[in-house]
């Protein structure tokens, strides 16, 4: 589509069209979904859109849904989409003719669609299947402002500081619990010729993890969530102290993070060039199954302020929601009832290495050391957060925060101007 043989009027017309990318993106409804009218009446068919697109996730979804099909006698049609394009087009997709059941994220990004009436209330499913199945915290992440549930959660991929156990044993490193120990360890690693903290944020969003964790440890989870909700100014000493602490850690990060993809940074950890990496459990995908993956271990991001502690865990929760006007409401609710069940979660998470079950009664005895450790972190968590781009307005996260965090990494000493600029844009987006 890039170049066609030019005729004089052609380029002019194309440039006009290009100039209208704004309107064009509105009109160009993505080729997602869309089914014949006759199928609307088929009571045994449920359609499902899934953004869990890597091979392990596809297999896990198929297995879990297969179990449902066998038990219920219904047919489920799974449409799998690349997760990035799914996120970029979900707005339009939900306004078109979406599938009945849609995989998505809990928290702000689910509430947003609930408020707009694009997804439907699944409180009856919770009442029927999930009394006492999830913690109150998880339940509130699946609840919109009207107090009703709009999502059934099934798994989570929490964030932590990952490292190779064998490397730590070899060099005699200890897992740090406080800021002092953490910095000390980083300095030892540098003396040993390692990059202490792998860092690759060319894609932009991975930069949010460090801000989130520092803010959670320095200002606490309550302030963090309020800040992201737009309740506080960004041009404050609190926010600047977060960037200040980050600036002190920067020398311990891999240099030139802005040109490095997150996968390349993960590879540095696999190759023992880097000692640690703040990352989500999805890092398991880059560790080859077997010896390498078993060598992977993690610890919670260390404590910076004893009064605040280190028990807030960034644990993005994934789940399933039902579209606003599903073709097959009854079947969709049944499928959700299955997907949230203990059996389905255990089956799913056993196949997908990045996912942990979120069900309270999940059997942790079969867990690997890593999964058990992460699971303990979640169970002991004082607060669960979802990651910056899931805890705030998506436009603020991607249009304002990513460029701002990248600017900070280029010029870490210019904090006053940075926070003032974020605040100006925040007011323009949040309207307060």
């Amino acid at each position: 589509m890039h170049h066609r043989p030019p005729g004089p009027p052609g380029p002019a017309r194309r440039s006009l069209l290009r100039g209208m990318a704004g309107a064009g993106a509105l009109l160009a409804l993505p080729g997602l979904g869309g089914c014949g009218a006759g199928r609307r009446t088929d009571p045994d068919l449920v359609t499902m859109a899934s953004n869990r697109a890597n091979p392990a996730q596809r297999e896990a979804v198929a297995e879990s849904v297969g179990l449902f099909e066998a038990a219920s006698g219904r047919t489920v049609e799974i449409n799998t989409f690349d997760s990035t394009s799914f996120q970029e087009s979900l707005n339009n997709y939900l306004q078109g003719t979406p599938d009945d059941v849609i995989a998505w994220f809990a928290g702000y990004r689910m509430r947003f669609f609930a408020e707009r009436g694009l997804i439907s209330d699944v409180t009856p499913v919770w009442e029927r299947h999930f009394q006492g199945a999830f913690t109150d915290q998880v339940r509130s992440l699946c609840t919109a402002d009207d107090g009703r549930q709009y999502m059934v959660p099934d798994s989570t991929a929490p964030w932590a500081v990952f490292y190779r156990r064998s490397l730590f044993e070899e060099r005699g490193y200890e897992v740090p619990a406080t800021r002092e120990e953490f910095v000390e360890l980083c300095e030892r690693m540098r003396a040993d010729g390692l990059e202490p903290l792998a860092s690759g944020i060319r894609e932009g969003w991975p930069a949010m993890g460090m801000f989130d964790h520092l803010n959670l440890r320095i200002n606490g989870p309550e302030y963090h969530l309020e800040l992201l909700n737009g309740d506080h100014s960004w041009d404050t000493p609190e926010v600047r102290s977060v960037f200040g602490a980050w600036a002190e850690l920067l020398p311990h990060h891999q240099p030139d993070p802005l040109g490095r993809g997150i996968n390349e940074a993960q590879t540095a950890l696999v190759r023992r060039e880097a000692g640690m990496m703040l990352c989500g459990l999805f890092i398991t995908h880059v560790f080859p199954e077997g010896e390498d993956r078993e060598d992977l271990d993690c610890f919670p991001f260390p404590e910076f302020d004893p009064e605040i502690g280190a028990d807030a865990v960034e644990a993005p929760i994934d789940g399933f929601m039902v579209s606003g006007d599903p073709r097959n409401a009854e079947g969709s609710h049944e499928l959700l009832g299955h997907l949230g069940s203990l059996e389905a979660q255990e089956l799913y998470t056993a196949i997908d290495p990045q996912a942990l079950p979120i069900h309270q009664d999940a059997d942790t005895s079969g867990f690997t050391g890593l999964d058990a450790r992460v699971s303990d972190m979640i169970n002991a968590a004082g607060a669960l957060t979802q990651y910056m781009d899931r805890d705030t307005r998506p436009d603020f996260a991607s249009v304002v925060m990513i460029p701002a965090l990248q600017r900070f990494l280029r010029q870490p000493d210019d904090l006053a101007d940075l926070t003032a600029s974020i605040q100006r844009q925040k007011v323009s987006i949040f309207g307060r």
């Binding site: 194309r14 060319r202 932009g204 040109g259 390349e264 436009d395």
Partner: protein
């Protein structure tokens, strides 16, 4: 009775029918008969409808939306009119906007300065029927047909800071420290322009190659007979004969520079030194909770810039047509 007066009348009107009869069947294409009018209406109307529906209406809608705050969900009643606020925001508090304008300009200048000239040079060389010419031709044109994802991947292999070909070569040849080709905002635009130019060169080469084939060989012969060398033949005879192609190349290059998008999007979504207006429009408009109003304002800025070039182009074309 009725037959009686007929002969004399026939006699009088006899010269007329031959006049009319040959005229009638011969000229219907000039007079608007029914079929002609339908044909005309279809041939003008369908393209006109397409242009209005696919170009003018969306353009006007974009302009209208640029004065609103809207997230793209729900009907027109959810649109909030906020006047020129989006434009004010873009020019005052939106940090990527100014670099984007500058980068688009750099993009334009660099595309003209290097790939366009290089493409012309390649075309002239390939036009001399070298051995294996078609092989070179397809090799140079290859980047144009490669998919976006593949182009991103290829340049990732070259430019990666830790594992890239270029840094490995520099370290080997000059023992240089690794350069952050994609991440350093002072150089990444130029690194990406090499990639963009790589594509653009092949495209321009093909345009000139087609143009050169169309140049009448007798022109060159005449020049040769008059004693002009190959360089003089090209600059004084062939190049002026390529005027229509030159015009197309100028337009294509301007438009490519204005709509440059795919490579920076693949690399880092058009941020951190790679800001381009098209990438800003896209990152504002797509996704959940999209800023349709603000993104539209950016698109209008881009439209206005395009219009300047389009106006120049159209007026040149019209002047040519009347001459």
């Amino acid at each position: 009775m009725s037959n009686a007066p007929a002969p004399p009348r026939e006699g009088r009107t006899l010269p007329r029918p031959p006049d009319r009869r040959p005229g009638r069947p011969r000229r219907p294409s000039l007079r608007n008969g029914r079929a002609d009018r339908i044909t005309l209406a279809l041939m003008l109307g369908v393209p006109a409808l397409l242009v209005v529906g696919l170009v003018w209406l969306p353009a006007l809608a974009t302009v209208a939306l640029s004065f609103t705050r809207w997230d793209g969900i729900g009907g027109p009643e959810t649109i909030e009119w906020i006047g020129a606020q989006n434009y004010v925001d873009a020019f005052t508090i939106y940090p990527p906007f100014e670099p984007a304008l500058r980068n688009n300009l750099v993009w334009l200048v660099v595309l003209f300065a290097f790939p366009t000239v290089l493409g012309m040079l390649l075309a002239v060389l390939l036009d001399r029927r070298l051995r294996g010419g078609s092989l070179y031709q397809s090799a140079f044109y290859m980047p144009v047909v490669l998919s976006l994802a593949l182009v991103g991947f290829i340049w990732q292999l070259v430019y990666s800071r830790d594992q890239g070909l270029l840094n490995a070569f520099l370290a080997l040849a000059a023992d240089a420290p690794p350069v952050d080709w994609f991440g350093d905002p002072d150089i990444n635009l130029y690194a990406v322009l090499v990639a963009a130019g790589w594509r653009h060169t092949g495209y321009i080469m093909l345009l000139y190659l087609a143009g050169l084939k169309a140049v009448d060989p007798s022109l060159r012969e005449a020049a040769a007979i008059d004693g002009a060398g190959p360089v003089r033949t090209f600059t004084r005879v062939v190049f002026p004969a390529l005027l229509p192609i030159n015009l197309v190349v100028v337009v294509v290059t301007v438009i490519d520079a204005l709509r440059a998008f795919d490579i920076v999007w693949v690399i880092n979504r058009g941020r951190n030194g790679l800001e381009l207006i098209s990438a800003l429009v896209t990152s504002n408009v797509i996704g959940e909770a999209s800023r349709v109003g603000f993104g539209s304002a950016l698109a209008v800025v881009m439209l206005v810039i395009s219009l300047v070039f389009i106006a120049v182009y159209v007026s040149t074309m019209l002047r040519g047509a009347y001459r």
